[in-house]
Symmetry: C2
Subunit: 368 residues, 2 copies
Amino acid sequence: MTNAPRFTPLIASLPATVPFVGAEVMERASGRPFAARIGANENVFGPSPKAIAAVQAAASEAWKYGDSESYDLKAAIAAHHGTTVEHIAIGEGIDGLLGMLVRLMVAEGDAVVTSDGAYPTFNYHVAGYGGVLHKVPFKGDHEDPDALIAKAAEVGAKLIYIANPDNPMGTHHRGEVIARMVDRLPEGALLIVDEAYIDFAPEGTALDLPVDPRFIRMRTFSKAFALAGLRVGYAVGGKELIAGFDRVRNHFGMGNVAQAGALAAFQDREWLGHVVGQVAEARDRIAAIAADNGLTSVPSATNFVCVDCGQDGAFARNVLNGLLRRGLFVRMPFVAPQDRCIRISCGTEHDLDLLASALPDALAEARG
Amino acid sequence: MTNAPRFTPLIASLPATVPFVGAEVMERASGRPFAARIGANENVFGPSPKAIAAVQAAASEAWKYGDSESYDLKAAIAAHHGTTVEHIAIGEGIDGLLGMLVRLMVAEGDAVVTSDGAYPTFNYHVAGYGGVLHKVPFKGDHEDPDALIAKAAEVGAKLIYIANPDNPMGTHHRGEVIARMVDRLPEGALLIVDEAYIDFAPEGTALDLPVDPRFIRMRTFSKAFALAGLRVGYAVGGKELIAGFDRVRNHFGMGNVAQAGALAAFQDREWLGHVVGQVAEARDRIAAIAADNGLTSVPSATNFVCVDCGQDGAFARNVLNGLLRRGLFVRMPFVAPQDRCIRISCGTEHDLDLLASALPDALAEARG
């Protein structure tokens, strides 16, 4: 009796890969904890004290299911974006929202366009629903709006993905550039604008268009709001599209503890400004550490910095491994030529002291 | 320009229904909060103080993504069930796990078997992936193992769903009855045993078989562990089947706050015993209140009691509406003949005082 699971043909065809290996998974493999956790673009400066208090207060109420409509949270988000709750979907982070969106739109064989080296979790979801992914190269260190639009027209894409600011390079386009993409969308293509890092970016980076059925914008509480451990994200989009999420989502999937924490964080704009300032300082420090080692870094509109190791991907991988061996959790871009870089998240002063001390040795080792 | 979303044909065919209308949604509709929240089988007696403390301690660490493998939690669960972490999947409640399982197994047109009137969220997921649902009637107030097996053989089902104890009736089968179902499964059918309410049931209700590829058992932290607001559930099953979840799940979907709370709750067996005792007392009290009003109730192995209103579904619906108008959040079974009952969750003493005071009037109104 074999009793192999009778997976659907699509599921049986999927590889057993994961988009990212988590920090704890690496710690268990190595048998020791990281000294600096600056690899997953988490926000080490922490959530608003008001969000912490809200989570703590909600803890004893955790016997209740969360509001299945996340109404208060949605209302606050809608007000902030000058729209109504019918245009807001809440999900388990942008990852969860991307998964649902792909499910809504992509049947087996449907075309989807993204950039080569862009967010792998999006690609994971597209593969998971049988979509056919078409990738265009970055242009320098930026995602390439013209190439994305041209490819979408060529293949009849249902979805186009762009992150602004971009991950893993940390670069950004002005909001007008994204607005022009919307105007030039091929018939029937939906533009996904992933604004996970928007709060760290210069004024004018956010897409400044009223809600429109041609695009959907995604935001998260995992970055500037420092609540990755609660897993809340939201999407702003056309009413019919947003209503689609209700046909497939886990209606009681967003707990009351997460809703309470996210709402308190969202309302504390003072803390947000404070944290964004700390991130900017850490960004400068990472660039300075790179310069001290004779390396350049890619100007960043996010809470991480790509340090150009000056050679190819194999060399950068060696530098990365040297840092990992020294207890620093860092990551790097997946594809050439971006993989000449290592990607370092904004850490505390102590984290970056460790980086400053480990980088020269890791570089020397990689060179030697 | 209409710009209607280009949903997949399957998604476009889905109705805009939700499996359950949440308590907060009803409160917003009526404009006032419920006085007693005894409709969603939540555990009003609350989570372990150690779980509350763990959530509170984790709050300031919420900037970190949770361990993508939920390793510590899985290890504790595996030890409890006498198996290994490779046999455990963690998900966003049983709802989330059921959604993933259906996605893994059910392609459009595949047959699935459940009981008419059983858990609607399972049906929602089956419809959401295009499965064809075949329902067999309850036998009296119990799900009918023989009928489920016979129907599965007849239609070539890939999945068979049974909840033990059952929701919405609160009845149970001995574990041996479920074990006999496993032995009689048609070739290629996977049995889902939803044990959400198992901690409230008499000894001998749990399926007492070693892990086996023919069945998957689901448990939740939302009921006896009183952590519905964190949304954590787990599945125990064959290694290959469990590995399948990793191909589709949101790998960082379980936050560190939820993992910390669930682990602490799971380990506090003393609190579990305490809460189960409180639930048993409340169950007796609900039955006594029913008896005081000349009504019988269905013996329950869960944290809710079905009170038989003694007439048809329309009458029970009137009683239910009378209770709702009096500020009591309660629900009722969806289909006949179970819908002769209203379903009342175990509440606090105060909750049940309100029930005792409201039920005579609600009954009189419905009769009048």
